[in-house]
């Protein structure tokens, strides 16, 4: 649905994006992750047709961003980092204006506004002036304008920035609900947002692609082993011997009240571990995956541990 090929953008001597190639599949929420000034906004601006690229190609919803710009703009809903609002307009008249410039037919304009208002939960502020509504509602209006023409692709630049924790949760729920009808790409530097909302990530740093793929794929490619942490009711000196009975286990390590069990990628020994615990009457209090958390993953990739 979104595809870039060796995308490069230079501002004079400054290279903002360099040879960026990635792919986002239809019906997924994809995160564009990177530190500040990594080139996230520039990439999004190129995809939405706001900026031309210096080199390379990009396709959105099957159209070439540079040669079929109008079709691309018609297929994209875009929320820039600074929500583009006219404070003197009411929410409804603003959405009506956006519907007109996004070429929604006049007969469908009202239905389009109703739909966007309903999806984003703006009913209570529909008739109010934008300058008088809260920051969270303004963000929702920004998302509503991106959805007004029912685009195939929705691009959101830092959609939760500057919101309070309750508003962040609301906006994330809203973004998740978009997946059923739209392909979503959102940029963020909040790692938790990626794990909570996204199906996959494109990680960039200094304009270059560091990694892309689903979180599971990335974790798999960066760590040698899979495994679990197991918290048992009682751990004694014999415990390591018990787990050694499972063929394939590479590492058994007691860490305080927990046991860390590791096996090579590709195997899945969790069922065997559970069965063994039952057979030996070992009461399990907690079992959680060993996989790297997003912070570890991100730091490893951005600090140069991996470059694709």
């Amino acid at each position: 649905m979104i595809e870039t090929e060796r995308l490069t953008k230079k501002y004079g001597d400054l290279v903002a994006v360099k040879d960026l190639s990635f792919r986002v599949e239809e019906g997924k929420i994809w995160g564009l992750l990177g530190p500040n000034a990594a080139g996230k906004t520039t990439t999004m601006r190129i995809l939405t047709g706001f900026l031309p690229a210096t080199e390379g190609r990009a396709r959105v919803a099957g159209y070439d961003v540079f040669e079929q710009a109008e079709a691309v703009k018609q297929s994209i809903g875009y929320l820039p980092e600074n929500v583009p609002l006219y404070p003197e307009m009411t929410v409804e008249s603003y959405l009506g204006f956006v519907a007109e410039i996004k070429k929604v037919p006049a007969a469908r304009k009202k239905a389009a506004i109703d739909r966007a208002v309903e999806i984003t939960g703006l009913q209570s502020v529909r008739k109010r002036l934008i300058k008088n509504i809260s920051r969270g509602f303004k963000q929702r209006v920004g998302i509503a304008q991106a959805l007004i023409h029912n685009p195939k692709v929705v691009i959101l630049d830092e959609p939760t920035i500057g919101l309070d924790p309750a508003q962040i949760v609301e906006i994330r729920q809203l973004i998740k609900s978009l997946k059923s009808e739209h392909t979503v790409m959102l940029s963020t530097h909040i790692l938790a947002e990626v794990t909570q909302v996204c199906d996959g990530v494109v990680i960039i740093n200094e304009g270059k692609l560091m990694a892309s793929g689903s979180l599971e794929e990335l974790t798999a490619s960066l760590s040698e082993n899979d495994g679990v942490y197991l918290k048992l009711e009682k751990i004694d000196g014999q415990i390591q011997g018990v787990f050694q009975q499972i063929p394939g286990l590479k590492n058994i390590q007691v860490e305080g009240p927990e046991i860390k069990l590791e096996w090579p990628w590709g195997l899945d020994l969790r069922t065997k571990i559970l069965k063994l615990c039952l057979d030996h009457n070992l009461a399990i209090k907690e079992m959680r995956p060993l996989s790297m958390n997003i912070e570890e993953l991100y730091l490893k990739i951005v600090s140069g541990g991996m470059e694709q």
């Binding site: 706001f50 900026l51 031309p52 018609q74 820039p80 583009p84 006219y86 007109e100």
Partner: protein
Amino acid sequence: MKAIWSITKKELLSYFTSPIAYIVISIFVLLSGFFFYSLVWWFNTQAIQMSQNPYYFQQININQMVFAPLFHNLSIIMLLMLPLLSMRLFSEEKKMGTEELLFTSPLSVIQIILGKYLASLIVLSAMLFLSAIPTIFTFIYGNPEPLPYLLGYLGLFLLGAAFLGLGVFWSSLTENQIISAVLTFGTLLLFWVLSWAGYSARGLWQDVLNYLSFFEHFDDMTKGILDTSHLVYYLSFAFFGLFLTHSVIQFRRWR
């Protein structure tokens, strides 16, 4: 055209939800009414004196004595006021970040520029229409020639259209509305004083400077003379302003 009209409607809403259009129109209409009243009062006293002499009685002409100076005064007020109408057109979009919405919509840059420009022309027309209301009474109580009167207003409109074209260009260059207004004002003043330089120049230079000056073209129109060169001058001036705006916007995105 529908797309252009969407932008125009939005701009008109912005003009009339902020105090700027009301203030500009009110001051223009107030000053125009004041000048009109003063000129009519002066015309009356002159007419009474001149009517006592049959030779001078022939010279009494309301078009030349009231409307021509009125239009000149209005053209100077427009030079001062119209930069305030054009200053926000692109500057504000840049400052508020709303240009990203406009330029990622399926509208072309030309449609966006024309939509904004059209809105400013509508406000200009409203300004001129309201200022014209008191002058209609001269047709009820006197008999001015309609052609120089109408050409005078057409001249004011064209002059305003040229001013606004230049104003749109400056507003596309900066996100600061004050800078945009001052640059427009400065450029308009420069074109105004070109006619003064024209008086002291000779030969070809005099012709060139006179042709470039706003007010040389305007003079003829207030006398009831419509030369196509005047139309071409004003329209090409406005077109040039809009063309430069388009170039600036494209250059900014492609650099």
